[in-house]
C-alpha cells in the first residue's frame, strides 16, 4: 500500500524524532520512576505546534492530517509511551470531539486553546460500574435554569490532574438508555468538580490517571456538545479516532523493543559469540520484525482511511487490536532476549514491557475491538 508519505511528513517526522531524542529520552526513565507528569515537555511541544497537528489552522491547529499525528505519537512513544498517550488523549479525545461536534462558538472558546496547546484536554466516559459497558454510566446531568447540574464520578481518566478542559459524558434521560447520554465540555476550575486520588499504575507511570468527582457541578447550558442524547454516538465516534492514536503508541513501543533487541543481541556474547549468531534468536527477531511491520501497515492505513474521509471504525479497531497485542508480545520477547538484564530498570525494555500492556486495555479492550470488527462484518 502506498502511504504517500510526503516531504512535509518526512520533515515533521524528523522534528518528532529529534524532539524525542533530545527532550524525552533523557527524562523517560526518571519520570516513570517518580510518576511525574512531564509539564515542561508538554509546553515545549505546544511551542512547536505539536498539540493540534490534525486540526485546521483557523482553529489553532497545525493544519496537517491524522497520518502526521500518528508519526508524532509513534516517535514520542519510542522514547516514552507516556508522552504518546498524553498527546493522544489530548488530541483525539479532548480536542477532536469539539472539532467534530462543537458549534463555532465552542470551537473558538475551547478547540483553539487546545489546538495551540495553551490548554490540555481529557475525556471521561468510564465509571466504576461502566467500563466496557459504557452505556451503564450513572453520572447524571439535569438542565435547570439555563445550567446543567452534574452529579457522579468518573474513574481512570488520563491527563486528569493536568487537563484544563474535559469532555464529560452523563445521563440526561435514563429512560432512553444509550440515547439518554449527552456530552459536555467542562472546565477544570468549575465549582463542584474535583479530582480524586492519582492511580498507582503498572506502567505509563508519568501519565496522570485519576478519578473525577462531580457534586452539584453547574455548567452553562451552551457547554452541551452536539444535542441531548447524542453523547453515546459522540463517545463512540471519538474513541474510533482515539484508537488510531493508541495503535500508534503501541507501534512506537513495539518498534523500540525490536530496535533494542537487535542491538543488544549483537553485543551480548555467550558461548564465545554474540547471541544473535544463534538461529533460535534470529527466528525470534524475524518474527518480531514482521509483526511490527504488519502493525505499522495497519496503523498507517487506518490513519489514511480517516484522512480520506471514509468510514474507519473497522480499520481503527484492527490497527488497535493488532498493534497493541504485538506491542505486548514483542516487548515481552525483548525482555526475554535480554535475559536478566531485561528485567533490570537500567534497560529500556523493562519499561517498554510494562507500558505495552495498557494499550490492550484502554479505549476499548482487545475484546471490544473484536466486537467492533465482527460487528462491521456481520449483520
Amino acid at each position: 500500500m502506498d502511504f504517500n508519505i510526503s516531504k512535509e511528513h518526512e520533515m515533521c517526522k524528523k522534528v518528532y524524532r529529534d524532539f524525542a531524542e533530545k527532550e524525552v529520552e533523557p527524562i523517560a526513565s526518571e519520570i516513570d520512576e517518580n510518576c511525574e507528569f512531564p509539564y515542561e515537555n508538554i509546553k515545549k511541544m505546544a511551542k512547536a505546534d505539536m498539540l493540534g497537528i490534525p486540526f485546521p489552522q483557523k482553529y489553532g491547529g497545525a493544519g496537517s492530517d491524522t497520518l502526521n499525528y500518528v508519526f508524532a505519537i509513534e516517535e514520542l512513544s519510542k522514547s516514552c509511551a507516556t508522552h504518546g498517550v498524553i498527546l493522544s488523549a489530548h488530541t483525539s479525545l479532548g480536542a477532536d470531539p469539539i472539532y467534530k461536534y462543537g458549534t463555532e462558538e465552542q470551537k473558538e472558546k475551547y478547540l483553539k486553546p487546545l489546538a495551540t496547546g495553551e490548554k490540555l484536554g481529557a475525556f471521561a466516559l468510564t465509571e466504576p460500574n461502566a467500563g466496557t459497558d459504557a452505556a451503564g454510566i450513572k453520572t447524571t446531568a439535569v438542565l435547570k435554569d439555563g445550567q446543567y447540574i452534574l452529579n457522579g464520578n468518573k474513574i481512570f481518566i488520563t491527563n486528569a490532574g493536568a487537563a484544563d478542559i474535559f469532555i464529560i459524558h452523563a445521563m440526561t434521560d435514563k429512560s432512553k438508555g444509550t440515547r439518554g447520554i449527552s456530552s459536555f465540555i467542562v472546565e477544570a476550575d468549575t465549582p463542584g468538580f474535583s479530582l480524586g486520588k492519582k492511580e498507582n499504575k503498572m506502567g505509563i507511570n508519568a501519565s496522570d490517571t485519576r478519578e473525577l468527582i462531580f457534586q452539584n457541578c453547574k455548567i452553562p447550558a451552551e457547554n452541551l456538545l452536539g444535542k441531548e442524547g447524542m453523547g453515546f454516538k459522540i463517545a463512540m465516534g471519538t474513541l474510533d479516532g482515539g484508537r488510531i492514536g493508541i495503535a500508534a503508541q503501541a507501534l512506537g513501543i513495539a518498534q523500540r523493543a525490536l530496535d533494542e533487541t537487535v542491538q543488544y543481541t549483537q553485543e551480548r556474547e555467550q558461548f564465545g559469540r554474540p547471541i544473535a549468531k544463534f538461529q533460535g534468536l534470529q527466528w525470534e527477531i524475524a518474527e518480531m520484525a514482521t509483526k511490527v511491520e504488519a502493525a505499522r501497515n495497519l496503523v498507517y492505513k487506518a490513519a489514511k482511511t480517516k484522512d480520506e474521509g471514509k468510514r474507519f471504525s473497522k480499520e481503527a479497531a484492527m490497527a488497535k487490536y493488532y498493534a497493541s497485542e504485538i506491542a505486548s508480545e514483542v516487548a515481552n520477547k525483548a525482555v526475554q532476549l535480554h535475559g536478566g538484564y531485561g528485567y533490570i530498570k537500567d534497560y529500556p525494555v523493562e519499561r517498554l514491557m510494562r507500558d505495552a500492556k495498557i494499550t490492550e486495555i484502554y479505549e476499548g479492550t482487545t475484546e471490544v475491538q473484536k466486537m467492533v470488527i465482527a460487528g462491521s462484518l456481520l449483520n
Binding site: S6, K7, E8, M11, C12, V15, D18, F19, K44, K47, A48, D49, M50, I53, Q57, G61, A62, G63, S64, N68, A72
Partner: protein, 262 residues
C-alpha cells in the same frame, strides 16, 4: 528591523564516513542538516524579530535539495527564504560564495543586521561571513556569544580564547555567531505545513533573478583550487610517558632530542 541570515546545508559530519581510497566523503545515506552554528544564527535573528519587530530573510546557496534547510529555517520563524540555486554557482569556493550571497543580499534591499554562523562543519573555513561583510562594506563582529541592541547600535560579546571582548558598532552590521549564544528552538509543525503548501514561502533564484557578474561565479571564478584531498594516516603509535612530572619531562626532552626536534 530587517535581518538577513545566511545558512548552509551540510552533511551531518557525525555520521559521515570517508572513502579511504578516493580520500573523499561518502555522502550517500548521510543526512543533511542546517549547519549547527547557522541554526544558532536563525534563532538569534528570530528572537530579535520577536523582541523588536521586523522581518527575517534566510538565504542559502546550494543544490535544489538545500530547500529542506530553508523549510526548516522558515519553520523556525523566518519570514522569507531564498535558495540561490544554479549550475553557474557550482564549485564556488568561499570567495565566490560570499560574492554570490552579497549580491543576493543587495537584491533583497535594505537590511539592518546580517547573521552568519561562524563556520560550516564541512569546511571549517570561517571565511564566508567576514567576506560578505567586506563585500557590503559594513562592520563585522565575529565569534559572537551575546547580542544586545540599543537604538541603532549593537553591542556584542566576542568570544576570545581566555574571555571575551565587548564590541559596539552602528547598524547595519554583520555578526558571525558561535555555539552557546542560544538554544535553537524546534521547527513549528504548522510552519512546516505552510512551507510546503503556501505559495512563495521558499523562493528559488537563479543567475537571472538578481544582479551578478557571471565572471565571478562558481568554480572558474574561485581562487581556491583543490588539487588533492587525502585522509591523514597515522604512521606511528602514540606513546604515553609514565612517572611523576619530573620524570615525564626528562623522558620527553630525551625523546625530542632523539627525534631532533630540539
Amino acid at each position: 528591523m530587517k535581518i538577513v541570515v545566511c545558512v548552509k546545508q551540510v552533511p551531518d559530519t557525525n555520521e559521515v564516513k570517508i572513502d579511504e581510497k578516493k580520500g573523499t566523503l561518502i555522502r550517500e545515506g548521510v543526512p543533511s542538516i542546517i549547519n549547527p552554528e547557522d541554526k544558532i544564527a536563525i534563532e538569534e535573528a528570530v528572537r530579535l524579530k520577536e523582541e523588536f519587530g521586523g522581518e527575517v530573510t534566510v538565504i542559502s546557496m546550494g543544490p535544489p535539495q538545500a530547500k529542506d534547510a530553508l523549510v526548516e529555517a522558515y519553520a523556525m520563524g523566518a519570514d522569507k527564504a531564498i535558495l540561490l540555486s544554479d549550475k553557474a554557482f557550482a564549485g564556488s569556493d568561499t570567495w565566490a560564495t560570499a560574492y554570490t550571497l552579497s549580491q543576493a543580499i543587495k537584491e533583497t534591499g535594505q537590511f539592518d543586521l546580517i547573521f552568519c554562523g561562524r563556520q560550516a562543519i564541512d569546511g571549517d573555513t570561517a571565511q564566508v561571513g567576514p567576506q560578505v561583510a567586506e563585500n557590503l562594506s559594513i562592520p563585522q563582529i565575529t565569534y559572537v556569544k551575546g547580542v544586545d541592541i540599543e537604538d541603532d547600535e549593537i553591542i556584542a560579546k566576542r568570544q576570545l580564547e581566555d574571555g571575551y571582548s565587548v564590541i559596539k558598532t552602528k547598524l547595519p552590521a554583520l555578526l558571525t555567531v558561535i555555539d552557546g549564544l542560544n538554544e535553537p528552538r524546534y521547527p513549528s509543525i504548522k510552519r512546516i505545513i505552510d512551507a510546503y503548501n503556501k505559495e512563495d514561502t521558499i523562493q528559488t533564484w537563479t543567475v537571472e533573478d538578481f544582479e551578478v557578474d557571471k565572471d565571478k561565479l562558481g568554480l572558474d571564478a574561485s581562487p581556491t583550487q583543490v588539487y588533492d584531498t587525502f585522509v591523514p594516516t597515522r604512521d606511528h603509535e602514540p606513546e604515553i610517558l609514565e612517572g611523576d612530572v619530573e620524570e615525564k619531562v626528562e623522558k620527553l626532552i630525551k625523546k625530542l632530542k632523539e627525534e631532533k626536534v630540539v
